[in-house]
């Protein structure tokens, strides 16, 4: 604002300009701090992964018997060390995801995705665990479901999270069901279990980061408290919604709704896909 006119007006304009200036400076400072926070988490994640690579690798070699035969007790202790290493790796991955989401730098690699690919990808990870715990698994995916414009790896991450929760919070002998169907213009992916259930007061906080349900049955369950917060962000970045219905002692049902890819959008998505490097579809091996 030009500082002219009567003395009073000039003083007023001067004060206004000064305030605007300090607000801009505060905004720049806020953005700088936000950037520092994101860089910090990214650097820390990388610095944590390097030693974790050696810890996991050498422990796994010993556990595999590469350095000589193991007693049953030695094998058991190494299995504990390895499962906790994996927990730490999961935490680092979740923290990195969260920092990217919060800074708006979480990128989706979208292409037309069939929901059956998502279900299959998640079952590949969870089926052995579910079977080992003696839980029944029912899969019901409708044939010829329309595709969604999605990031397969990230959608699998969501489905793995939901299935893994169902597995963890359901007793041995319980049942886990996965279904996929289409309703109006949405794909509905549902994961249902006969587990311990979630109290109504917990349900409203379930998708908040670091929120962990406490109480009987949840005590021995490990997790970062970040999985559902990340799952919700991924679903919302896809233009979808995630909801829960649950009754204590009966079980829970998590539902993900994703918009169906319309034919116009499909053409754009296909063009975009053709321009991309074909190896970029599944270049990354997560070992």
């Amino acid at each position: 604002v030009p500082e002219r006119g009567s003395q009073e007006l000039r003083a007023l304009a001067g004060a206004f300009n000064e305030m605007t200036g300090s607000m801009e400076a505060a905004e720049a400072e806020r953005a700088r701090l936000e950037q520092m926070k994101t860089d910090f988490i990214s650097v820390v994640s990388h610095e944590l992964r390097t030693p974790l690579t050696s810890i996991k690798g050498y422990t796994q070699m010993v556990a595999d018997g590469d350095a000589g035969e193991l007693s049953e007790e030695q094998a058991e202790y190494l299995a504990v060390a390895l499962s906790n290493t994996d927990r730490l790796v999961d935490l680092v991955n979740d923290l990195l995801d969260l920092s990217r989401i919060e800074s708006g730098r979480f990128e989706l690699e979208r292409r037309p995705v069939r929901i059956t690919e998502v279900v299959d990808g998640a079952l590949q990870v969870l089926r052995p665990l579910v079977t080992a715990k003696g839980q029944a698994l029912a899969v019901d995916t409708a044939p010829d479901l329309p595709v969604v414009d999605g990031d397969l790896k990230r959608l699998v991450q969501v489905a793995v999270n939901l299935l893994s929760n169902a597995h963890k919070y359901t007793e041995a002998g319980g049942k886990i069901s996965v279904s996929a169907s289409v309703e109006q213009s949405e794909i509905v992916l549902a994961v249902r279990d006969t587990g311990i259930g979630i109290r109504p007061e917990d349900q409203s906080h379930l998708f908040e980061r670091f929120y962990r349900v406490r109480g009987a049955g949840a005590r021995d369950v490990t997790g970062t408290g970040l999985g559902l917060a990340i799952a919700r962000s991924i679903v919302e970045l896809h233009g979808g919604r995630i909801t829960v219905q649950s009754a204590l002692g009966v079980g829970s049902r998590f539902e993900v709704r994703l918009p169906v890819l319309t034919s116009d959008a499909a053409n754009t998505a296909t063009e975009r896909q053709h321009g991309a490097d074909p190896r970029a579809l599944s270049p990354e091996v997560s070992l």
Partner: protein
């Protein structure tokens, strides 16, 4: 038996990968820096090169680009090995001409399987 070059500036990880690939019956060469890896690859012509991305001096992407440019069709298969696994990192690896991208930490046996898949 294939000749494989592994480059990583972390000696513990370098040794880990060398042990596993050696046990799987391969001839393993190692390098602790990017320029050393490039020189070894040019003089010893391995069938496959495993490159850490973040190395002092020449990084893994630069080594990969140089190998693919200088050797063309004769260039070895290249797998990147990195603690950075975000989409843009993977994209950077593929743009440098790499044939695959493995994110750390990895299970040693799965790494060997992945290497052998690319050698097949």
């Amino acid at each position: 038996v294939s000749r494989i070059l592994v480059a990583d500036d972390e000696p513990d990880i370098l040794r880990l990968v060398a042990i596993k690939l050696g046990r799987a019956g391969h001839e393993v060469l190692t390098a602790k820096a990017g320029d050393e890896a490039l020189n070894l690859a040019l003089s010893h012509r391995p069938a496959l090169v495993l490159l850490d991305v973040t190395m002092p001096g020449m990084d893994g992407f630069a080594v990969c680009r140089a190998l693919k440019q200088q050797l063309g069709a004769q260039a070895p298969r290249v797998l990147m090995l990195s603690a950075r696994g975000q989409a843009n990192d993977v994209q950077g690896g593929l743009e440098s001409g790499a044939d695959g991208y493995i994110v750390k930490p990895f299970a040693p046996n799965a790494l060997v399987a992945e290497v052998e898949r690319h050698l097949a």
